[in-house]
Subunit: 436 residues, 2 copies
């Protein structure tokens, strides 16, 4: 029995995928039952680093997804369209789907999973989050026996690479970004990575799996790293922190079974001052890591390459393998309850202003006595309690003050900042970053 696979896209990941499938020796024996039957590309003339007969190549992707002989469609073209349409068409034709496309899943997951459940096919997405790290499967098939409380990830390699180099070299954001683009770690238009949008797609997917419900991408609060300066990296370091772009999905309000209030989540992507002792603090460069906390398990962390041909292809092929394994044994049209995503309800989201966190703030003020007192009082008036407030510098007659709050309510903090900004002694609020 051979399972016929159609690959859409032969870029970096598609090439890596085809290379694994064409070279099964020394790998799981089930791989020998997988056959690349069709490869969809944009250009038939481009030379390809894969051992696949040219007769299997076509530019007609629609023909691939409706091809009667194919069992599994592997979507590796990326982007929202035509990927979404091709996936839906493939599902309509009874094909199982393997994808690495976090953008499509986070925006159109509802539609895609509804169609897949209706048709009785699987949609697998290990490669969509965390590159080669097996994290989707553990969330679906193992960690769900826990009550998950929080998922925290460094899930964007570009921003982690930039922040790591800013830390180790003391370099400026713009310089490191330019170098990252030159080296291929960042796109020509780096927005999706640098502004946190890619990380937001990914935490929406992780949250959906961890908390067993649908997530709207617009419910993810998203801040990127553009405003992180070498000054902040330096001060954070001195305070015993490292700055990471974290993607966080957490239970803010637990389910109340007595009055029926549902669990409420917050979903956030933002730079964070992370204590150096935290497991995620030592995850550097293009590596990703996802930390899952649940009851009664405690904490587990998955670490590995977040991108790259080999890593991502490993995840793609593991999904193809899992579908083939199920197809071998499954004769009833009952979907495997751990592989399919059948939750219907949307997760309830806690209002952002009720979210509780700590903040780091750097302000420039007039260098006059009583300024620290004014700041403290102003924050206090808004129920924002301060852990520390230190004048760390003086330049051009402006005092530079760094403060770290205790845990505070987001709404209160924003109101306090607003008042602070109106104080005549305050020249500039230079930086505001959340603290773990």
């Amino acid at each position: 029995m051979t399972y016929k696979v159609g690959i859409l896209g032969l870029g970096t990941v598609g090439t890596g995928t085809a290379q694994i499938l064409s070279d099964p020796s020394g790998r799981h024996p089930l791989l020998t039952e997988l056959e690349i039957a069709q490869v969809g590309v944009r250009s038939l003339d481009k030379p390809r680093a894969v051992d696949v007969p040219h007769s299997l190549f076509t530019t007609d992707l629609d023909a691939i997804v409706s091809h009667p002989d194919l069992d599994i469609i592997v979507e590796l073209i990326g982007g929202v369209e035509p990927a979404r349409s091709l996936i839906l068409k493939a599902i309509a034709h009874g094909k199982h789907i393997v994808t690495a496309n976090k953008a499509v899943i986070s925006r159109h997951g509802d539609e895609i999973f509804d169609a897949a459940n209706e048709k009785g096919v699987y949609v697998m997405l290990e490669a969509a989050v965390g590159g080669g790290i097996p994290v989707i499967q553990p969330l679906k098939q193992a960690l769900g026996v826990n009550r998950i409380k929080r998922v925290t990830g460094i899930v964007n390699g570009t921003t982690n690479y930039i922040l790591t180099r800013m830390k180790t070299e003391g370099a400026d954001f713009a310089d490191v970004l330019a170098d990252a683009q030159r080296l291929g770690y960042a796109e020509a238009d780096p927005t999706a990575d640098v502004d946190g949008l890619d990380a937001a797609d990914k935490i929406a997917i992780l949250a959906s799996l961890a908390f067993g419900g649908r997530i709207r991408l617009e419910d993810v609060h998203c801040e990127g790293i553009r405003h992180i300066s070498s000054t902040e990296i330096d001060y954070a370091e001195k305070l015993g922190f490292t700055i990471k772009l974290l993607a966080i999905a957490q239970e803010d309000i637990p389910e109340n079974s007595s009055d029926g209030t549902p669990q409420k989540l917050s979903l956030k992507v933002h730079p964070t001052l992370l204590p150096k002792s935290h497991p995620l603090a030592s995850v550097d460069g293009v590596f990703n890591a996802i930390l899952v906390e649940g009851d009664p398990l405690g904490q587990v962390m998955f670490f590995g390459p977040g991108a790259g041909a080999g890593a991502t292809a490993s995840a793609v092929v593991s999904d193809i393998l899992n579908i083939a394994a199920i197809l071998k044994t499954e004769t009833e049209p009952i979907p495997h309850p751990l592989l399919s995503c059948t939750h219907q309800h949307f997760c309830a989201i806690a209002p952002m202003e009720d979210s509780v966190t700590r903040f780091y703030v750097r302000v420039k003020t007039q260098d006059s006595s009583g300024v620290i007192g004014q700041l403290g009082t102003c924050f206090g008036n808004h129920d924002v309690s301060l852990e520390s407030i230190v004048q760390i510098g003086l330049s051009d007659k402006l005092a530079e003050i760094v403060l770290v709050t205790h845990h505070v309510r987001e709404g209160d903090f924003r109101a306090a900042l607003d008042s602070i900004s109106k104080l005549s002694a305050v020249a500039e609020i230079s930086s505001v970053i959340r603290v773990w």
Copy 2:
């Protein structure tokens, strides 16, 4: 449809398992289709912290494993017998097995898996290695698309706890061991942990899955931490290393497809000087971590609690869940090719003397000129090349010399050590530890 579960043993892990199963809200919905039907205990009178009717308790474990209504037997009594016999009897009666028992699987895995494959039932063992960390499932169901080159683990929490405290407190092994026993992190008879035997059981299991073949426990070279002194911890620290008990399964000799030579592995448990920058170096206390390296994935690491009721129970229940999921969909008696272990051949093991590694050696010698030269020459005569050799101390007229070799062949190194020990200038070879 309810899947009936018989639990053998209600110790720490059994209790944690029953607690999860009795309290499914907020967890994966499939858990509601699992029912604790029988619980096997040694004493019916002992008060139990589980919400399970006393009528389900029995001391007759043989009756449980042959009970016609049960689908899944969860073996949590530990030890080799009667666990092995009960598992085999359960299999003979067509029950699926979930176990946390690394001792039984590493010694009798052959027999158990032969019986299970013959009968068409599953034997799941996520909880046997790495406590709550999902690592068995990723190895079986995802990482196998790679050619795995090496698996390295900190898989014994007791020894990691001891080494961590020796490092942070500068304490002696004997004192920390005594304290660990007092706190319950080490057994009254600590041999299995301290002498590396538990870690050997675990790496045998990991190696079998990673390299797709059977492993004989006696092929695991095993050294524990009894000879690690606070002196070594200190010197290692100064040299930029931390000392960890590592369990390593690696490909020493790749398969040669042209002449048919099989892949050859080495399996080792030993204390190791690990560079502080290595991902495993920051894994402290009772945490475990397993690092898997393969082609084309690269490196992934799994980190989490290696023991404890909640953590291990999470792994046990995830296995029960996975069996239930398969039973829902599987109507053909074809075993799921990723969940069953059907490899028949034994992995070929490379001879220990051909193993290549680096070594740290501390010697005490007469304090005379030329001693360092003698040592260097003696090592050189045995093809052991030195990276560094430093006299670090002097006491009671004996010089204390620490040396680190380059990569050397084990056989050559042992011969060199033997010659060194015979030099008249050498008073004592105080310590020999492998270096990463």
